[in-house]
């Protein structure tokens, strides 16, 4: 076995041994090392304000208003362009965020600890579907939901996870692949397991028992007659919200995947991809043995299904850190585990199997944690080798949401996207130096 093949086996072994556990929740600027008051994190590789896409700009505008640094979009845009706000990739801070991935200093974040290798990873709270900050929307409805998430949801689940003594996210992913999820675009099972694990502790929290408090409320009157006219407890609001949002678990899953990818990073001679991420303008990758260097090229527009009233003409280019799931062998790589996903992103169940099968061509291992029942429990294809991508001319398959290209609108569909081949060729050239 060559020294590169050995290095890749070491890197993928480290990736699969990583054991990310959700241990806490905290305010970004208090818990993410290096986070500060004028720093806004975003998805994907580095980008300046003038090159940001509509949805990323929208999320930054919303974040600035949310932080109280501007009263309206006009003021926020001016501030963003002034240079007073610093922008940096979430990945530079061991953080990941879906779609725009905007993480502001006072937002509350999941904290995951890698119990095997040590270290922490972070991700913000998932807001649900439709018109949300991560898709670039920033009206009052969006900002009020963020306030509820930070002021009610986060403190309740913080208390709950402490009572639970941590939640093993890797185990939840493994089980959910047996229940029809891919762990990226379909998270009905992961979220169900997430709720099942944390619910008893949510019910036990002191915060959850409160019915009167000075914070935004979640209207549960559409959940049941029972809640009409009266105030629900914070615990009821939290659990109803979790149930209403299949993506509740996604951000914690992404932070878990970031933990696994980090474990594989920095292995000398390894040609494995340890970061894939998009900012809505560029697609970027980083490789285990080439340090912090990004290889970037213009991001493609996803091919998928659109919500009523929208078409491909409305779509922004690929955006988000959620492709960290494919980086460690789930998401599009585990599509065969989730044939029902084709209702959401297009194609047929046979396509889902084909997608997974194709990914074995460009990876170095079958995952020993994540497997697919319908493929005789074969491990998911894991550890993308830059050499194989270039040699076989096969790029990773990614399941993704589709954002509207204009700021302030939100999600318009979901589909499949491929990264540009150029970034793997550039990485190959660097590796050969």
């Amino acid at each position: 076995m060559s020294k590169i093949d050995q290095a890749n086996q070491e890197a993928v072994k480290r990736m699969m041994l990583s054991r990310p556990v959700w241990v806490d929740v905290g305010k970004a600027k208090d818990v993410i090392p290096g986070m500060k008051d004028n720093l806004f994190l975003h998805a994907g590789p580095p980008i300046t304000w003038d090159r940001m896409s509509g949805p990323l700009k929208g999320a930054i505008i919303g974040g600035i208003i949310y932080e109280g640094k501007a009263r309206n979009a006009e003021e926020a845009e001016k501030l963003a362009a002034s240079g007073e706000i610093e922008f940096a990739p979430c990945h530079h801070f061991n953080t990941v965020g879906p779609m725009a991935g905007v993480t502001t200093p006072s937002q509350m974040v999941f904290i995951l600890e890698d119990k095997e290798w040590g270290g922490y990873t972070y991700s913000n709270m998932n807001e649900g579907y439709g018109k949300v900050l991560r898709y670039g929307a920033f009206d009052d409805e969006v900002l009020n939901r963020l306030k509820w998430l930070d002021n009610v949801y986060a403190p309740v689940i913080k208390e709950a996870v402490k009572l639970a003594g941590g939640v093993d996210i890797k185990s939840i992913i493994a089980q959910a692949l047996h229940m029809g999820d891919d762990g990226h675009n379909r998270n009905r099972a992961t979220t169900s397991l997430f709720i099942r694990t944390i619910a008893p502790f949510v019910a036990e929290t002191e915060w959850g028992k409160k019915k009167d408090y000075d914070a935004p409320r979640l209207d549960l009157s559409n959940v049941s007659e029972y809640f009409k006219g009266g105030k629900a407890s914070a615990a009821a609001e939290v659990l109803a919200f979790m149930h209403s949002n299949d993506l509740t678990s996604l951000n914690a899953i992404m932070a878990a995947c970031k933990s696994m990818a980090l474990a594989a990073h920095g292995v000398e001679n390894s040609t494995l991809v340890t970061t894939m991420a998009r900012n809505g303008t560029d697609f970027g990758i980083r490789v285990s043995s080439t340090g912090d260097k990004w290889f970037t090229a213009p991001a493609n527009v996803p091919d998928g299904l659109y919500f009523s009233g929208y078409t491909a003409a409305d779509a922004n280019a690929d955006i988000g850190d959620s492709v960290i799931t494919e980086t460690v062998g789930i998401g599009g790589f585990a599509m065969a585990a989730a044939p029902a996903i084709v209702n959401f992103i297009g194609g047929s169940p046979a396509d889902a199997f084909e997608a997974t099968n194709e990914m074995y061509e460009i990876t170095v291992a079958e995952n020993n944690n994540f497997n697919i029942p319908a493929m005789d429990f074969k491990g998911t294809p894991t550890g993308i080798d830059v050499r194989k991508v270039v040699e076989k001319s096969i790029v990773p398959r990614i399941n993704t949401g589709i954002a509207h290209k204009e700021p302030g609108i939100g999600q318009v569909g979901a589909g499949i996207v491929k990264p540009p081949m150029e970034i793997f060729i550039e990485a190959l050239k660097e590796l050969a130096k």
Partner: protein, 53 residues
Amino acid sequence: MEDLFKKELKVINMGLEGFAETLKERGTTVLHVRWQPPAMGDDDLLSLLDKLK
């Protein structure tokens, strides 16, 4: 050779999918194998890959 065309044809097609599609449209059993030259046939990339074996 002539005998070949008197029997039912079963074809393995490699590379360009269009040939497989045409035969399928005529009712021929075809197994298509997706194949393309390594590294898109680019000599520079092939030499880099050789260096990274």
